[in-house]
């Protein structure tokens, strides 16, 4: 009986597969046509030769690494603590990590600029100077915004990882051997979370490196705004960069796939 409906399955599968492949194939062929009448890698050479490419790409990679570090520092102890001591707080913490689905990036950056472009005062006392005045403090704001965007993926990855081990027993065993909290987190919990952390980190990386919205409005020289600029001025280079960026996303997802095989990893992002 299943064999009889197979044409139906094939029809939808082929339709979806074409939707996947045609834009990629089209972009790839298009990216090879910078020199008339022949296929060449000229668009790639020209794209990579622009010093701004390396500068902005490096900048975004540094921001991505900082985001991953801060996000891990924030999420791992919190998720661990929720698992171990305050499971009652799980819904609250989960709710907060899901806020980026309710507050889109454009609204988030709007609020960040509004709040941090003037001194932050609580009850008349100035707690923070304006953060948008220097590039260093704006970078800090950028990373904070990216950490917010990374929360749903990072928290879910870490939470899944913690579920897969017996946090309570491991902690008690370590404590009975005289380990402090730092040792427990660093030498017991983290090593057991390796694949979860790696997938959370790579997903964050994929989201952050080409991110446009927050970087543009904070006026930082990131890769996303650079890409958008190239798109306005060049014809074939954007196609080349799209292929490169697809390759990078593929690489990140491929590694996640490999390290979380059979664990039901979460590999979907929001836009």
């Amino acid at each position: 009986m299943a064999r009889r409906v197979s044409w139906f399955a094939w029809f939808w599968y082929v339709l979806g597969a074409l939707y996947f492949i045609i834009p990629l194939w089209g972009t790839f062929v298009f990216s090879l046509q910078k020199e008339r009448g022949t296929f060449s890698l000229a668009a790639y050479q020209s794209a990579f030769a622009d010093p701004k490419f390396a500068e902005t790409f490096l900048y975004s990679n540094v921001m991505a690494v900082l985001t991953i570090i801060f996000s891990l520092l924030l999420v791992v102890p919190t998720a661990y603590w929720v698992h171990l001591r305050v499971p009652r707080m799980r819904p609250v913490v989960e709710f907060i990590t899901l806020m980026p689905f309710v507050i889109p990036a454009i609204v988030l950056v709007f609020g960040l600029i509004k709040t941090f472009s003037r001194p932050l005062t609580i009850l008349g006392v100035t707690v923070l100077p304006p953060l948008t005045n220097s590039s260093l403090s704006t970078d800090f704001l950028l990373v904070a915004g990216y950490v917010v965007l990374s929360l749903p993926y990072m928290y879910r990855a870490v939470d899944n990882g913690l579920r897969a081990m017996d946090v309570g027993t491991l902690t008690e065993a370590a404590q009975s051997l005289g380990a402090g909290w730092g040792t427990i987190l660093w030498r017991i919990i983290l090593p057991n979370l390796r694949s979860a952390l790696l997938s959370g980190a790579l997903l964050t990386f994929a989201i952050v490196v080409g991110e446009l919205t927050i970087a543009t409005f904070l006026g930082r020289p990131a890769f996303g705004p650079y890409l958008a600029l190239i798109g306005n001025h060049k014809v074939y280079e954007p196609a080349a960069l799209a292929i490169v960026s697809f390759g990078l996303t593929w690489l990140a997802m491929g590694i996640i796939d490999r390290v979380t095989r059979g664990q039901g990893g979460t590999t979907t992002g929001a836009h």
């Binding site: 979806g16 834009p23 089209g26 972009t27 609020g111 904070a144 997802m253 979907t268």
Partner: protein
Amino acid sequence: MATTVQNPPRRPRLTWTWLGLVPFFLFAILFIFLPSASLFIDSFRTLDGGFTFANIAGLFQPPIPESYWLSIRVSAMTAVGGGLLGFFMAYALTVGNLPRWLRPVTLTFAGVASNFAGVPLAFAFISTLGRTGFVTVILRDLFGWNIYGAGFNLYSFIGLSVTYMYFQFPLMLLIMIPAIEGLKRDWREAAENLGASTFQYWWRVGLPILMPSLLGTMLLLFGNAFGAYATAYALTGGTLNLITIQIGAQMRGDVLRNPNLGYAMALGMVVIMAVTILGYSWLQRISERWLK
């Protein structure tokens, strides 16, 4: 008796327990709640600080409702279109008897595509379906069909929808595959024993059980498209008046000449997103009754 003995030493421990979550809550307050609260509060303020509903009323003055409506249409269109394509593809991969090796390849592809958004995605579609794009040229030169002459335009509603679909349907596919696999074999066998055809099984048993999950995921896709800015900006350069594009223009140069009206627009977006996500989690809870 035991409680009276245990109570005193418990108290300080409780405070310590809470301390562990302080950094996280502090971060959330500073970088999520404070920024959004300040937008919301000023949505209800006049320029000199008094309370008003004028900004909320302003949301119903042109051109703002048009922007919301365009965003809603694009999101609904790609949620339903991407949802159906993703669902049928998930169906094909699970119960469609396709060769087994297709599955891991397709899932990896879907994982990548659902994360492939923003500026590079816009570039890919410009290279493919733009005026001189790969497919546009092939259709024109080989088949004599000028899609731009026939009314297609990548930099319009339909073009943006086609582009958004690229990350929408893979997301649907990824979520629906486990849902379809959650359908128990017993249900199908029971239906067959009672003489149901494949169509009858799906129409009377399979689809009704999957429906909350199907609709819920479509709501997720709706929110996914509704909040998108980068793809639309890179594709249309800000000429298509989505609500996100409108907010961006307001941030760049106060085009509404009233900052508080800009904040109200952001508030309106968050309200729509919140309703969408609430609907999603409600439907999710219903679908968990049947599919674990």
